[in-house]
Amino acid sequence: MEASPAVAGLAAVAGKAFPTSFSTGVRTFSTAQAGLERQEWFGEDLTPDDTPILMAWQAPRALIVGRSDARLPGFARATEELAAEGWPVLVRRSGGSACPVSPGTLQIALVRASAGQGEIEAGYRTLASVIETLLSGVNVLCEAGERPSAFCPGRYDLGVGPRKFAGLSQHWRSRGSAIVISTAASVIVEDDVEELCHVVNFFYEKANGQRRCSSAFVTDVKRARSGSPLPGGILTTILRTRLSDTTRKPQAFSGAG
């Protein structure tokens, strides 16, 4: 399996972004189910005149799959076996395929309402820029571009070289004449990427799905970081603090604008 040759810096996907504000800080949920439900219905009262908002959260282990994954012939068996291994399987509304959540990952969502034409790229660019800004403060350079052999691959994968440490997806739903757009990212901060990839492959194997991923194309922010090593857990604490601090006030992410 080979990485996409199209991996590029964020400048390659730059374009119009929009300012965001924050509302909830970084929350820790007792289950990933609670976090996912909160994320999917967050911003339900937004109007197209409102500033988009960010939420971020962490939760215990779970494998979050796409709606098409839930229709695989062995889905029930895969769900049962993974739950027994401590990986409950949840179905999300946003696009893409299976992606693990764990205490070593950060979930970040950007929610906005739109009255007009849907522009897929704007949400991706803005959230990618949020993550780029967040990680630049801990000496990590983000490169955007699909890593097709990583799990849940997409054009807005973020990583270093051929290895992905974050992925983005979106869900659009109508609410009256407006569209509520949720752009979500999962960032692997510090975790055992071999195990994360094993869980994804185990799911598709048991569910009779065709997808597979390789840990050779997945990394975490801790390994992607340059500079002196940090003790375990410190990086997650730093990123949580930075995320809360930088998003409590309105931000214009000029890096993507």
């Binding site: 709606r67 098409s68 696009g95 007009g116 034409q117 790229e121 054009r155 992925g167 869900h171 659009w172």
Partner: protein
């Protein structure tokens, strides 16, 4: 009378992403659906669009799962009552 389930012509920017796919139908052919229920999911660039039934009635699928669509496409109909 049949009501078309048409993708909004400006649902996404076709210049940037020319085609999407019907990722899921959440009801089977001929099933009864209520106006506003999410009947289908369209996927473009890891972006999932919920498509709602435009009326109460029985669902008829025009573009099946994994079918390729463009903005404005009619993917199904709902026969009244």
């Amino acid at each position: 009378m049949a009501t078309e389930i048409a993708l909004p012509p400006d649902l996404w920017d076709a210049a940037a992403n020319p085609e999407g796919i019907v990722a899921n139908w959440f009801f089977t052919e001929g099933a009864g659906v209520r106006k506003g229920a999410t009947v289908a999911e369209i996927m473009v660039e890891k972006t999932s669009f919920d498509i709602a039934a435009p009326a109460d009635g029985h669902l008829h699928i025009v573009v099946g799962k994994d079918g390729v669509v463009k903005p404005g496409a009619v993917i199904g109909t709902v026969d009244g009552g």
